[in-house]
C-alpha cells in the first residue's frame, strides 16, 4: 500500500510491453512485465496486466510516443534565457511551418539551453497536440491513469547508457522493431538525427522457418528481450543478412544525417569516429553491432553502447529507460535499475 510503484507502457507497431516496478530505496525492482506481439498487442497486454495489477490514480505512469507520429526538425531560434521561452518560440516557428495555430503544436527540445550559447541549432520534436491527447485518451480508456511522462521513443534508452562514453563526436544508432534512429552527438548534445523507417522486423522475420531454432522460439520476441549469449549462430547469420540489406543504405543514412543537419556537413563524417549501436536487447544490439562492424569497421570504431545495467533483464531497453525516467519523478536521482526475477506474463 505504501510502496512507490512505476508503470511503463512501451507500445510499438506489432508489440506492446507493459512493465511495473517497485521503488525500494535507491533501487528499481521490476515486479511484473508482459510482452505481447501482434496487431492487437496493446489490448492483449493490457488485459493480462489488468488481470494481475491494480494501478492507483497517483501511481507514476510513463509511456512513450512513437517517433513515426512526430517530426524531428532543427529550428533556428534566437538566444533565449529559459526553456519556456525557447519552447514558445519553437512552437510559433513550427506552427507557421505547418500552417497551424501555435497552441495546436506540441514541441520538445532535444538539446540543453546551455548548448544554444555555443551556436548549436537545436533539434526539436514536433507533434500535434491533438495527436498526443488522442494517444493519452487511448490509454486512459484502457484504465491506465493519466501519464506523468509521455516520452518519445527511443530516447529513454539514454537513461540506461553510460553517458561518460559520449565524450567527443559520436554516432549512435538505435534500432527498434519497426524503426531506427541515427543520431550524431557532440558530447551529450544531439547535433543531427535521422529517422529511418526500418527496424529489425525485416531481419527477424526471415528466421521464422529456420530449422536451427527451437520450434517454439518467437524470434521477433527474442530480438526484443533475448540474450545474445544463447544465439551465436543466429547473430552471425542475421548480421550477414542485415549487412546485405543495409550496407548501401547505412552509408547513405550517415551522409544524409550529416548533410541534413545545420550543425554538420557531409565533410564532417570523418570527425565522427565512434559508432555506438543499441537495440532493444543484447541480441538485437549484437546483430546490428556485428553487421555494422563489417560495413564500417575499416573507418569507424563500431561498438555496442555501454549500459549501466546488465545486458539481459527480460525487458526491452526502452521500457527500462521509461521506468528509470519514472523513478526520477520521485526525486531519487541515482536510481539504479536492479534486475531481479519479476513475474513475467
Amino acid at each position: 500500500m505504501f510502496q512507490s510503484m512505476i508503470t511503463a507502457v512501451n507500445s510499438d507497431e506489432g508489440y506492446t510491453e507493459i512493465v511495473r516496478a517497485v521503488v525500494e530505496g535507491r533501487y528499481l525492482k521490476p515486479v511484473f512485465s508482459v510482452l505481447k506481439m501482434g496487431a492487437n498487442s496493446l489490448e492483449e497486454s493490457t488485459r493480462v496486466f489488468m488481470e494481475n495489477n491494480t494501478i492507483p490514480a497517483d501511481e507514476i505512469f510513463v509511456t512513450a510516443f512513437h517517433p513515426r507520429d512526430v517530426v524531428f526538425q532543427h529550428l533556428e531560434v534566437p538566444r533565449v534565457k529559459s526553456t519556456k521561452n525557447l519552447l514558445n518560440v519553437a512552437s510559433f516557428k513550427a506552427a507557421s511551418q505547418f500552417s497551424l495555430p501555435p497552441d495546436e503544436v506540441n514541441v520538445a527540445c532535444l538539446n540543453s539551453i546551455a548548448s544554444l550559447k555555443s551556436g548549436l541549432v537545436p533539434a526539436f520534436v514536433i507533434t500535434k497536440r491533438k495527436a498526443v491527447f488522442e494517444f493519452i485518451a487511448g490509454l486512459t480508456g484502457k484504465s491506465f491513469p493519466e501519464p506523468n511522462i509521455v516520452d518519445v521513443k527511443p530516447f529513454s534508452i539514454f537513461k540506461m547508457a553510460q553517458t561518460s562514453v559520449f565524450e567527443g563526436n559520436n554516432i549512435v544508432f538505435i534500432v527498434d522493431r519497426s524503426y531506427s534512429l541515427l543520431l550524431t552527438l557532440k558530447g551529450e548534445e544531439i547535433v543531427g538525427l535521422n529517422y529511418i523507417n526500418d527496424g529489425f522486423d525485416q531481419v527477424a522475420s526471415g528466421f521464422k522457418e529456420d530449422n536451427s531454432l527451437s520450434p517454439n522460439t518467437n524470434i521477433q520476441r527474442e530480438f526484443l528481450i533475448g540474450s545474445k549469449a544463447y544465439y551465436d549462430s543466429l547473430i552471425e547469420e542475421a548480421s550477414e543478412r542485415l549487412e546485405g540489406l543495409i550496407s548501401y543504405q547505412l552509408r547513405m543514412y550517415l551522409t544524409n544525417t550529416m548533410s541534413n543537419s545545420p550543425n554538420t556537413s557531409a565533410a564532417d563524417e570523418s570527425l565522427f569516429t565512434r559508432f555506438f549501436v543499441v537495440g532493444q536487447s543484447s541480441l538485437s544490439t549484437a546483430v546490428y553491432s556485428r553487421a555494422f562492424q563489417r560495413i564500417l569497421g575499416d573507418e569507424t570504431e563500431v561498438v555496442s553502447m555501454p549500459l549501466k545495467m546488465k545486458e539481459t533483464s527480460g525487458i526491452t531497453y526502452t521500457s527500462v529507460g521509461l521506468l528509470m525516467r519514472g523513478g526520477e519523478i520521485l526525486g531519487r536521482r541515482k536510481l539504479v535499475f536492479k534486475e531481479e526475477a519479476g513475474l513475467e506474463a
Binding site: C109, V125, F158, E188
Partner: protein, 190 residues
C-alpha cells in the same frame, strides 16, 4: 541528455503514504508538546507542593493541575485569609486595650495587697477596698503589739505611687495598739 516530455499536465497527486506520514508527524508533535508541557507543569507542581506543602496541609487546599482552577482557588484562599487576618488584627487590638486597662487595676490591687501585708503589724483587717477610674482606695486597720506602732510601709516596692494616710491611732486593751489607715493608690498621673 535532455529529457523529452510531450505531456506535463498531470498534477502531482499527493500519495496517501506521504499524507499519512505528515499527519502522523503533526499528531506526534502535538502529543509530544502536550506531554512535555504536562511534564514540565507536573515537575513545577511537585516543586511548589514541596515548598508550600505545610501551607497546603494547613489550609486544606491542594493543586489540581488545572492551571486556571488552581489560580482561582489560590486567589480565593488569599482573599479569605486577608479578611481573616484583618478580623484577627482588630480582635488583637481590642484585647491589647483590654489587657492594658486591666494591668493598671492589677497594679493597684497588687500595691494595696503589699500594704495590707505590713510586716510590722500583728494583724491587718481590711474594712473597705474599691477601685474606680484607675484609682484604688482601701481603708484598713493595723493591730500592733503594745504601743509600738509604725508608719505603714509595703514590704516590696509598689509599682504605683501609693498615698497612705493614717487617720488615727488607738490604744486597745493596753496590750495592743490599733492604727486606722486610709490608702489611696494610683491617679497621680492624671
Amino acid at each position: 541528455m535532455v529529457d523529452v516530455n510531450l505531456y506535463s499536465r498531470k498534477k502531482r497527486v499527493s500519495r496517501l503514504k506521504y499524507s499519512l506520514i505528515v499527519l502522523l508527524i503533526i499528531v506526534l508533535l502535538v502529543l509530544g508538546s502536550r506531554f512535555f508541557v504536562a511534564q514540565a507543569f507536573e515537575t513545577r507542581l511537585r516543586q511548589v507542593s514541596r515548598m508550600k506543602g505545610y501551607l497546603f496541609d494547613n489550609t486544606g487546599t491542594y493543586l489540581t493541575g488545572n492551571l486556571k482552577a488552581d489560580i482561582e482557588m489560590i486567589y480565593d484562599k488569599k482573599q479569605e485569609y486577608t479578611v481573616m487576618k484583618n478580623k484577627l488584627s482588630k480582635q488583637v487590638n481590642d484585647l491589647r486595650a483590654h489587657v492594658n486597662s486591666k494591668s493598671v487595676e492589677m497594679d493597684v490591687f497588687r500595691t494595696i495587697e503589699a500594704y495590707l501585708e505590713d510586716e510590722n503589724a500583728m494583724k491587718t483587717i481590711a474594712s473597705r477596698i474599691q477601685f474606680e477610674n484607675g484609682v484604688g482606695n482601701s481603708f484598713y486597720y493595723l493591730i500592733f503589739e503594745g504601743e509600738n506602732v509604725s508608719f505603714p510601709t509595703p514590704k516590696s516596692t509598689p509599682t504605683l505611687l501609693a498615698n497612705p494616710s493614717v487617720r488615727g491611732n488607738l490604744d486597745f486593751a493596753e496590750l495592743y495598739s490599733l492604727q486606722l489607715v486610709d490608702l489611696k493608690v494610683g491617679g497621680h498621673n492624671e
